[in-house]
């Protein structure tokens, strides 16, 4: 599903290049649950963003379903992730001015899903996440766990093949965190590929494979 070869990411400041990622080679198969671990500043989030096509590598090759992402236009990229990739962030990133219902609706609107089908999908999601009563609330009227559940619901409403989660439980308490992780696990068991970034050994245990990053390099042991 994913093939990365010799990916580098650096920022040029003056005459100095600051490397964030170095010579990353990575393969991810369909249906995997991969965990990326590493200390702060190791480049975990950058790698995740590159995987999610939110950021571009400085050089190197990235194939998604054998298609060369590194050569795609912005329009193609946006087509790819609106159809195949769902995101979950540490700080949820819901749109504050939209209600729960409307937040769920937004990716469907960008995918140009028809009205009746849209309503059905949102109703399913609300039902599945037990949020029906909260559909007209705004994000700031919800607890962190609830917000993250909405974020997960929003990520999977387009039936993505890949979910990228950036410290999804970072701002949650233990119970809320466990709920979200169980959810991800359930999705994975139904066939969705999941790549998560985390500091937590406990969360990492949900995954089946772990890669460690240190100063931008993939290393064997933390």
């Amino acid at each position: 599903m994913i093939k990365m070869r010799d990916i580098n990411k650096y920022y040029s400041t003056g005459f100095v290049k600051t490397f964030v990622l170095r010579n990353i080679d990575l393969d991810v198969k369909e249906g995997e649950f991969l965990t990326i671990m590493g200390p702060s500043g190791a480049g975990k989030s950058t790698l995740l963003h590159i995987l999610g096509m939110l950021d571009t590598p400085s050089n190197g090759e990235y194939f998604f379903y054998d298609k060369p992402v590194h050569r795609m236009s912005e329009r193609q990229l946006s087509d790819l992730h609106k159809n195949h990739i769902g995101f979950v962030f540490q700080s949820y990133h819901l749109i504050d001015d939209l209600t729960v219902y409307e937040n769920l609706e937004t990716p469907l609107l960008y995918k140009k899903v028809k009205g009746s089908e849209r309503k059905g999908k949102i109703a399913d999601m609300l039902d599945r996440f037990h949020m029906v009563a909260k559909k007209n609330l705004f994000p700031n009227q919800l607890s962190g766990g609830q917000q993250q559940k909405v974020a997960v619901a929003r990520a999977i409403i387009i039936d993505p093949r890949l979910i990228l989660a950036d410290e999804p439980t970072g701002n949650l308490n233990t119970k809320e965190g466990k709920e979200v992780m169980d959810l991800l696990k359930e999705l994975n068991e139904n066939g969705t590929t999941i790549i998560q970034v985390t500091h937590s050994e406990k969360n990492a245990a949900y995954g089946r494979r772990i890669i460690n990053l240190l100063d931008g390099w993939i290393v064997d042991k933390p």
């Binding site: 609106k82 409307e102 990716p107 960008y110 387009i158």
Partner: protein, 802 residues
């Protein structure tokens, strides 16, 4: 999708009340201002376009070669020209000559002074002035018929049908009865031809001697011609030289030495007449297009400033929206969609502002009409250009204000946005310069308003040489017994306790366009001099001081027709040490030279645009006096005026009683300047309000950018007042730049404006300082509001996410 955008925009509007308010109010003010200016400019440039045959109608212009070889153009033409054009040129289908004069109208014991227009019978066939009653072809055929304007009918006849009624109009020296033959609809405001009473042009014979009517040298009337639809203007013009040879040949041989280029004709399209400032308008309305250009320029500038203010505010607000943009990108929005969203939002703001702007424009329209002296209306449906321009105004505002935020905000990579690594625009030099320009404009306008106010106040308070507020002027309106009226007034009022004196004069004092100028010769020297026919009481009534010799007196029988009083300026021009006894020659009097018997102290008989000119005062019993001057005591003025009215009614029952105070008459000479001062005053308020909004936005932007810096400084121990002044100083620097730009421009513009006045103030430094202080005070107010808010905030708040 659209629904989602609208929701976001609406919720944003409600949530960010202050920003929305500033945006909408700023844009609305600008739109209202532009809408009003649009109405004004459209009215100006479409004058006379409403005539169906507007493109076929021309006014004949008469060009004469002056002694220095230059050509002078004049719209006045000889009376036989029109008929000759029509008979000799097949291109000319119709012609109508046009003339106007003020005359007295009597009907059923009422009398008013009215403007009487004269036109040839084809007038209503050529011009689109619809008749409510009467046949356009024949309504002016009879030389005893008169066409009245709708409103005039109401004034004289109320609701009664006036057709066939007789109404008495004075023509020249006699009253004649006219039969009402038609009623014309009220005339549109954008017509430079207007009339209340319209009679046949043939009536020119009543007040013009026969010999002038048939000669080609004297110009007394305007000539309009209607050309055949297919006619070639240049083809017609090529026939003019032989026409001139035929009719004016003998005159040219005699007076111009056979130089046939000394007289030419030109055809001026009807539509070009109104805004042509080169020729005096004569019996028609005219206007200077410069005012339209200036207003249009200011309106455009204000609109652009308001739109760019919106841009600044949108960017300032973008920190809170960056996350939304990032999330949208993650969810699959591409750049185009985001651009559309932000442009749509700007258009939405544009629309709301448009609604409010139209409301404001409607509210201010009566006031605006009042000082541009027009009757404009927001005719949304009757004139498609109104609605079209309002809608395009909205799109203009929406696109200008929306495009930069749209492109700016949609550009970011979501990863950067979501990790808040992004810095909102560096120190945007562009928006800083914008503030400088805005404030330069405001300061310029404030200075101009202050200088104009100062000058106009100076004009009001200038000593004219007499007490105008105590002198009542009553025109005798061409009454054949002008002099007799003056004498009767004097006899009847001589002993009244509130009347000091009564006298008469031939020319109005307070008139800038007098023709009463003649050469005065002394030995070999010649001076062009204003002349006034007066009576014995004039200098006393006006309270003018005789500084050499004596005033006219009935004790000297030689005073009428042989003696003359001159003013100081003439003495200076002649270079006399002693004026008394000097013999001067003028066209006045008999063959004998006139003897100077007195010198009167200089006083103003024209507006202060002009220096005091040389003048002579002369008693000529054969000449009727045109104005009665009554000096009254300043107590119980209403009853004194009532007394004057009764005296008038008794002695001149056929003429309306018209009166004014001499100081008011002088004020009327500055009407134009007063009006422009008001327009500039209002404009500067607009400009300041909008600049303030802009400054407010920019300071919001700056403070957003410096939130972290302010937080750190606070942690390090900076005080709130220190922080506020730090931020304010940044902006005061911009105001300083604005002053550097505005001062020289304002000085130059006002210096030029003041050149129009012979009597003028010095431009003073306080006018500049005051304008700058106003601008600086406003700046500090607008900026400190934001700065204090930022400085008071808990630093932990601003530093948390770093």
């Amino acid at each position: 999708m659209l629904r989602s955008y609208i929701k976001i925009a609406l919720r944003g509007l409600v949530k960010q009340k202050l920003y929305s308010f500033i945006n909408i109010v700023g844009l609305a003010i600008a739109i209202a201002f532009c809408a009003l200016i649009f109405l004004f400019v459209r009215d100006e440039v479409t004058h006379d376009n409403f005539h169906k045959k507007a493109d076929q109608l021309y006014r004949v212009i008469y060009l004469r070669k002056e002694d220095d070889g230059s050509l002078s153009a004049d719209a006045m033409t000889p009376p036989p020209l029109g008929p000759a054009f029509q008979t000799e040129f097949p291109e000319v289908v119709r012609m109508a000559r046009w003339k106007k004069r003020g005359e007295v109208v009597n009907y059923k014991g009422q009398s008013f002074r009215e403007s009487i227009a004269l036109a040839d019978p084809d007038f209503f066939e050529m011009f689109s002035f619809p008749l409510i009653q009467g046949d356009p072809q024949t309504v002016l055929q009879d030389r005893n018929s008169v066409v009245l304007r709708e409103q005039i009918v109401r004034k004289y006849f109320g609701d009664k049908d006036p057709i066939g009624k007789l109404i008495s109009i004075k023509m020249g020296s006699k009253f004649y009865d006219f039969t009402v033959s038609g009623i014309a609809k009220n005339i549109p405001g954008n017509s430079s031809i207007t009339f209340d009473f319209l009679v046949s042009h043939d009536r020119i014979k009543d007040f013009t001697p026969e010999r002038y009517l048939n000669q080609w040298t004297g110009s007394t009337t305007l000539t309009f011609v209607e050309l055949r639809e297919s006619a070639s203007v240049s083809g017609l013009k090529s026939k003019f030289p032989s026409f001139i040879r035929k009719h004016l040949g003998s005159v040219i041989e005699e007076h111009k030495g056979g130089d046939y280029s000394a007289v030419q004709f030109e055809l001026q399209p009807l539509k070009d007449i109104y805004l042509n400032t080169k020729m005096r308008p004569f019996y028609m309305a005219g206007s200077n297009p410069l005012y339209s250009y200036i207003l249009f320029g200011i309106a455009l500038l204000i609109l652009i400033i308001a739109a760019i203010n919106y841009t600044n505010l949108a960017i300032a607000r973008s920190t809170t929206r960056l996350r939304e943009i990032g999330v949208r990108k993650v969810l699959g929005a591409n750049k185009k969609k985001l651009v559309n969203q932000f442009l749509g939002e700007a258009l939405f703001f544009g629309f709301v502002s448009l609604c409010l702007g139209i409301f404001l424009a409607e509210v201010f329209l009566p006031l605006f009409n009042n000082f541009v002296n027009k009757n404009l209306s927001m005719d949304y449906f009757s004139n498609w250009t109104t609605l079209a321009s309002l809608v395009s105004l909205m799109f203009f505002v929406g696109l200008i204000s929306g495009s930069y935020p749209a492109l700016f905000l949609s550009r970011f990579r979501p990863a950067e946005v979501l990790r808040s690594r992004l810095k909102i625009g560096g120190r945007s030099q562009f928006s800083r310069w914008l503030v400088v320009v805005q404030f330069a404009l405001s300061i310029f306008l404030i200075i101009s308003t202050l200088v104009m106010t100062h000058q106009l106040r100076y004009l009001r308070n200038q000593n004219l040489g007499f007490r105008g507020e105590q002198i009542v002027v009553i025109p005798t309106q061409g009454s054949p017994q002008g002099t007799q009226l003056v004498n009767r007034f004097r006899n009847e009022l001589a002993f009244h306790k509130n009347v000091v004196n009564v006298s008469g004069s031939s020319a109005a004092i307070s008139n800038d366009n007098t023709y009463a100028i003649c050469p005065v010769r002394f030995q070999t020297k010649q001076v062009m001099t204003h002349y006034f026919f007066i009576d014995h009481e004039f200098l006393k009534t006006m309270g003018l001081e005789v500084i050499q010799g004596r005033d006219f007196s009935r004790d000297y029988t030689a005073d009428p027709q042989q003696s003359v009083i001159v003013n100081e300026t003439l003495v200076k021009e002649m270079g006399w040490d002693l004026a008394i006894g000097k013999k001067i020659r003028t066209f006045l009097g008999r063959k004998e030279p006139l003897t100077v018997v007195g010198v009167v102290k200089d006083f103003h008989f024209e507006s202060l645009h002009n220096q005091i000119q040389p003048a002579i005062f002369y008693i000529e019993p054969r000449r009727q006096l045109d104005f009665i001057y009554v000096k009254i005591r300043p107590s119980d003025i209403p009853s004194t005026l009532g007394l004057l009215g009764e005296t008038w009614k008794k002695n001149a029952p056929n003429f309306p009683f018209i009166h004014s105070f001499l100081d008011e008459e002088f004020q009327k000479l500055y009407q134009n300047e007063e009006r422009w001062k008001t327009v500039l005053g209002y404009t500067s308020v607009f400009a300041i309000v909008i600049s303030c909004l802009g400054l407010f936005g920019l300071s919001a932007l700056a403070i957003t950018r410096r939130t972290k810096e302010i937080g750190i400084r606070k942690v390090l121990g900076a005080s709130v007042s220190g922080l506020v002044s730090m931020v304010s100083m940044d902006f005061l620097k911009l105001i300083l730049f604005a002053n550097i730009i505005a001062w020289p421009l304002a000085y130059y513009a006002m210096h030029r404006w003041l050149q129009d006045f012979a009597f003028r103030i010095e431009i003073e430094i306080w006018e500049f300082l005051l304008a700058s202080v106003i601008a600086a005070a406003i700046t500090v107010l607008a900026v400190s509001f934001q700065a204090i808010k930022a400085a008071l905030a808990d630093p932990a708040e601003s530093l948390r996410y770093e």
